[in-house]
């Protein structure tokens, strides 16, 4: 009964948002955020120890989102669990009513708050997609039949604008082959370049939900350019925000323009407001999606 699946199936333009579980056990702030953005989203990603920093598990937090009446996308990284734990958590997710799963590699522990941790990576994201597809077919990764299987909507991450683009696309196509039905992408910087590459993935049968990041301040742009390798904000966008008398408003306007431009070329947008939930609401309303 995944609403996300239904919406993607009928070709509706979807909106997904994102919340982070707490560093602790108080779910209050996360659920308040869910309350604010859920009316504007088809589903909400629940991150899994994002940035390799400790948070309450995505499994429990996803269930909490579901109980709060919204639809979660359970994120699972390959960083913290071996193949037994990954399969076991996926089976658990299904019994907890979690139908959407986003499978990603996960950031390396040396960039997080537990840099002495062992990065597990027993499976990589492509292999885990294959395993999850197997669970959907009623077998574990050894091919042994399960006593009750799953029917997940499986998603993966992609970075269409990264160079070398041929290698990047080859890699994303490999994920489709492994079982990915939708992609949630890294933040779009150039809509034209993005659209051209997303078209290849859509032709291969996957739905593409484009990442839209709220570049809300000079600090955020600096952080992205310096700390998050893999996301480089081009000069003209950085200038537009930093030279604006009201960077947050300008960022909302930029994101809204991106969403409008993306409407005709992809299957949805994944809005990352970096804590500014009100901005997500403004973007969705501004783009005429509410």
């Amino acid at each position: 009964m995944s609403k996300l699946r239904d919406a993607l199936d009928v070709g509706q333009f979807v909106v997904t948002g994102e919340v982070a579980p707490p560093h602790g056990t108080d779910l209050g702030a996360m659920l308040a955020s869910v309350d604010r953005i859920a009316p504007y989203c088809h589903a909400i990603n629940v991150t899994d120890n994002q940035g390799a920093t400790l948070h309450l598990s995505s499994l429990a937090a996803s269930r909490a989102v579901l109980e709060a009446g919204s639809e979660p996308i359970f994120q699972q990284t390959c960083r913290d669990r071996n193949r037994l734990a990954l399969q076991s958590d996926l089976l658990a997710a299904w019994t907890l009513g979690l139908e959407n799963v986003l499978i990603v590699t996960g950031d390396d522990p040396r960039g997080g708050d537990h840099p002495k941790a062992k990065g597990v990576f027993d499976l990589d994201s492509t292999q885990l997609l294959e395993v999850a597809r197997g669970l959907n077919e009623g077998v574990d990764m050894n091919g042994a039949p399960l006593d009750g299987g799953c029917d997940f909507l499986l998603g993966a991450a992609a970075f269409p604008e990264a160079e070398p683009s041929d290698i990047q696309l080859e890699r994303a196509l490999q994920k489709i082959e492994a079982g990915a039905r939708f992609f949630q992408t890294q933040a779009v910087m150039d809509v034209d370049v993005f659209a051209e590459r997303a078209a290849v993935l859509r032709e291969a049968g996957a739905k593409v939900i484009a990442g839209v990041l709220l570049l809300k301040s000079a600090r955020v742009i600096r952080f992205i350019n310096e700390r998050l390798a893999g996301l480089m904000v081009p000069e003209h966008l950085a200038k537009r925000i930093t030279e604006s008398p009201n960077p947050l408003e300008e960022a909302v306007e930029l994101a809204t323009e991106q969403v409008v431009a993306l409407r005709d070329v992809v299957d949805g947008v994944h809005i990352m407001p970096l804590g500014a939930d009100e901005a997500l609401v403004s973007i969705v309303e501004g783009a005429g999606l509410a």
């Binding site: 960083r79 590699t105 996960g106 390396d108 990589d124 994201s125 292999q127 290698i167 082959e177 390798a229």
Partner: protein, 233 residues
């Protein structure tokens, strides 16, 4: 070769103080630790001087041919039996394998003088890089002779991951992404990348590893014998 680096001197002193040792015998290794410039003759002389400065007596030192070779190390320690008997402890400047071999060869407490860091390629004199994890399940046939298990910081068999930018690694930002290199070399050689490299067999590298060519020879001989006997009956 096994790459080693000096162990924090304060830890060595703490180890010696822990058993109240005052006299120390030093052992090095003529193989890897000599090439790594951590456990050859010059390094043993330097360690001896450092220990004397710290108030210890050095009863002698020896650099055997290969510290991890049990027969050779036993022979070497027998040659120096008097100096070792005069010591309260033996400090070994070799990899952990050599330290354990010495520990099996002498009756004195043995301490590590180095940290063992990786199985390394010698890029040029004094420059070493890790290229192989000795995983027992080689994928170099699929990956154009570039090991992703070792050279991708996450050890991903399928990549690049989402952090690759401009062909560079997101974890070690001054390096090219291993998976970009793999795919490029495969393409240059007209080879097709594997659709999905399957999960690794970690049982191929269960601890502790052991291999006996003698036992294998015996098994083969038995098999040949059985076949011959079977043919006759």
């Amino acid at each position: 070769m096994i790459i080693t680096k000096p162990r924090d001197f304060s830890r060595i002193i703490a180890n010696l103080e822990g058993i109240g040792a005052k006299r120390v015998f030093l052992m090095g290794c003529g193989q890897c630790a000599t090439v790594a410039k951590t456990g050859g003759e010059p390094e043993l002389e330097a360690m001896a001087a450092q220990l004397r400065d710290a108030g210890y007596e050095v009863t002698g030192w020896a650099v055997g041919e290969v510290a991890c070779h049990l027969g050779g190390t036993k022979l070497e320690t027998r040659k120096r039996v008097g100096d070792i008997a005069a010591a309260d402890a033996v400090l070994v400047l070799s990899c952990g394998a050599g330290v354990q071999t010495v520990a099996d060869s002498v009756d004195r407490p043995v301490f590590p003088g180095l940290e063992s860091v990786f199985l390394g390629n010698v890029i040029r004199a004094g420059v070493f890089e890790e290229r192989c994890q000795t995983c027992g399940d080689c994928v170099l046939d699929l990956t154009a002779g570039i090991c992703p298990v070792t050279t991708c910081p996450k050890g991903l068999l399928n990549g690049p991951c989402g952090g690759m930018w401009d062909g560079m690694c997101e974890v070690l930002t001054d390096r090219e992404c291993a998976h970009v290199r793999i795919r490029r070399r495969l393409a240059e050689q007209g080879r097709v990348a594997a659709k999905v490299v399957p999960p690794k067999d970690f049982s191929a590298k269960l601890k502790p590893g052991s291999l006996s060519l003698r036992e294998e020879r015996r098994r083969d001989a038995r098999k040949r014998h059985d076949v011959t006997q079977g043919g006759r009956s």
